[in-house]
């Protein structure tokens, strides 16, 4: 597998140096792997801190900026960051109003953020936490690590970020973040397996005529494999999987998210199919976002995320945001 890299060992550091060069409005500590808003800490504002394995760009570093995250901690590829990163980032962004940790539900992320929360609290930083677990492909039971955090992370970071920007206290920012997670669900499909730089080859075998349903964002295979389907058929499968669980009684936010290796041309076509299916199921789409936001390196495929919004959540979604990957109203 050809990759535009130097050596696998330095891909994260190389990307961070390039990210820094592209975004002088952010402070990028390449050595310690911490990205923060240049104006941090913002006086009186609750800070939002997220992080996770690299390979999901623009998540999370691309969402640092006014109206969204105050800091992001990128780990190695598909590997959660270490507690030292989060403690350093929390200290850099805390204005005294507290820091909300936004954690995707993966065993490694949960353990490292929990350790970081303890250490940050030892340093006198008030820490709140929201666990994002929106992926309906995983049965949430005692027999799994629980649902994965995927596309809804973007909803949580955007909406909670807007509320924090308005000066709301930690308790309220945490509450809206948790609420957004509770009313969000996602389902993803893969058309190709992912290749990590360390392995240099696909991490699982997905034959040409087949697709994988219910995939995560780490190259882990999904629940089920089928013969390749059309965009319309995939939209029906994905939307129904989400609606089975969410049952919206009002308008929704829709994220049609590319996994990294699918062209926008295909994503927009897929979005048309998703809208068609949602319309047929009587679901009103309030806002739509299409693009590669929560990716899995070079994987081809897409995920559908819905968030059942109330008026306040919709207002916060529309509020100005100014980050490398999401920018409107500013």
């Amino acid at each position: 597998m050809k990759m535009l890299i130097n050596v696998p060992e330095t891909v994260v550091a190389d990307a961070l140096r390039g990210f820094a060069a592209a975004h002088p409005e952010l402070t990028v500590d390449v050595e310690n792997r911490v990205i923060v808003r240049r104006d941090a800490p913002v006086a009186g504002k609750v800070a939002l801190l997220s992080g996770g394995g690299s390979g999901h760009e623009p998540l999370h570093g691309g969402f640092v900026g006014r109206g969204m995250l105050d800091a992001a901690c990128p780990g190695e590829v598909f590997t959660s960051p270490v507690p030292d990163q989060m403690v350093r980032a929390a200290a850099a962004v805390d204005s005294g109003a507290g820091v909300l940790f936004i954690v995707k539900n993966y065993t490694g992320d949960v353990l490292n953020f929990d350790m970081a929360a303890e250490l940050a609290e030892d340093e006198g930083i008030m820490v709140g936490k929201v666990l994002v677990n929106d992926d309906v492909a995983v049965t949430d039971s005692l027999f799994t690590a629980g649902r994965r955090g995927t596309g809804a992370t973007l909803f949580v970071e955007k909406i909670a970020g807007a509320l924090a920007e308005e000066g709301a206290p930690l308790e309220r920012v945490q509450a809206v973040a948790r609420r957004v997670n509770e009313v969000s669900r996602s389902f993803g499909v893969a058309l190709t397996a992912v290749s990590t730089p360390a392995k240099g080859a696909p991490t699982f075998d997905l034959p040409a005529g087949e697709l994988e349903l219910g995939i995560g964002i780490h190259g882990e295979p999904g629940r089920e494999r089928r013969a390749m389907m059309t965009s319309g058929e995939i939209a029906e499968f994905a939307v129904d999987a989400v609606l089975d669980d969410l049952r919206p009684d009002g308008p929704v936010l829709l994220l049609v998210n590319g996994m990294g290796g699918t062209p926008l041309l295909e994503l927009y076509g897929f979005n048309a199919e998703v809208h068609r299916v949602l319309g047929a199921r009587g679901v009103t789409v309030a806002r739509t976002l299409v693009g590669n936001y929560v990716t899995s390196l070079d994987m081809a495929g897409a995920s559908v995320s819905l968030c059942r919004v109330d008026e306040e959540m919709l207002r916060l979604w529309d509020a100005p945001v100014s980050t490398p990957a999401l920018c409107w109203g500013a």
Binding site: S80, R148, A198, K199, E220
Partner: protein, 223 residues
């Protein structure tokens, strides 16, 4: 069996012994990193070897640079290094294993084999607690728990340190292999449900390597 391993009583474990363990562990992890990543591909995310190699190289450097003067200190230092460098679930889990074991040994400059066994047991309990896992969930516990059992059992029967640790290493290897038919209930492999069956758990495999390195350190010490 060498002479030293046939006379269990009176054997002591010191800082040099634990340093040997982690230097050997770093070597075996480096050597086997590709295999661990290979095991992590079908049921994980193909990075266990790379993460463990990074962590154990950092740990070896720390142990060689400024070795603490107690066995417990060495364990705590390595545990901290792993938490700060490995990432993923493995970092906090292996870090907790060694830090808990290190704390259990306290400030003693030398400890008896039974104390090491007890300390490792506390470390393994810490792993189970942090990960919320039990034996049979297809995790590192499936290698570590039988290893501690075998170590304790062998010492109780009067085996020497090297012999008891060899028994532990065999138990860890068997435990790691026994994860193949299991369905994962924890960690990333659990997302696969029944499709996780038929693959060895990479965490159990790396745990077996570490116990093997520990047994190797004991054999070296008896030469």
């Amino acid at each position: 069996m060498s002479e030293a391993s046939s006379t269990g009583a009176g054997q002591v474990i010191d800082t040099a012994f634990l340093r040997r363990w982690f230097i050997a562990a770093a070597s075996v992890i480096e050597r086997e990193a590709d295999r661990l990543t290979e095991l992590d591909s079908p049921i994980g995310d193909a990075d266990h070897g790379a993460n463990m190699r990074r962590g154990f190289i950092a740990a070896r450097t720390a142990v060689e640079k400024e070795p603490p003067d107690t066995p417990g200190g060495v364990l705590v230092l390595v545990g901290r290094q792993l938490i700060s460098t490995v990432g993923g679930a493995s970092g906090p889990l292996y870090g907790t294993l060694l830090r808990k074991a290190g704390k259990a040994l306290g400030d003693a400059r030398q400890v008896a084999p039974e104390q090491l066994a007890q300390a490792l047991r506390e470390g393994v309990d810490g792993v189970a607690q942090l990960g919320g896992a039990a034996q049979g969930d297809k995790t590192m516990l499936d290698a570590l728990a039988p290893a501690v059992e075998a170590l304790t059992f062998a010492l109780d029967k009067g085996a020497g340190l090297a012999e008891a640790l060899s028994a532990a290493a065999i138990a860890a290897d068997e435990g790691a292999l026994a994860t193949v038919p299991m369905q994962a209930r924890k960690g990333r492999a659990s997302y696969l449900g029944e499709r996780s069956i038929g693959h060895q758990d990479p965490g159990a495999a790396s745990s077996a390597l570490l116990v093997g390195a520990l047994a190797g350190a004991a054999r070296e010490g008896t030469v």
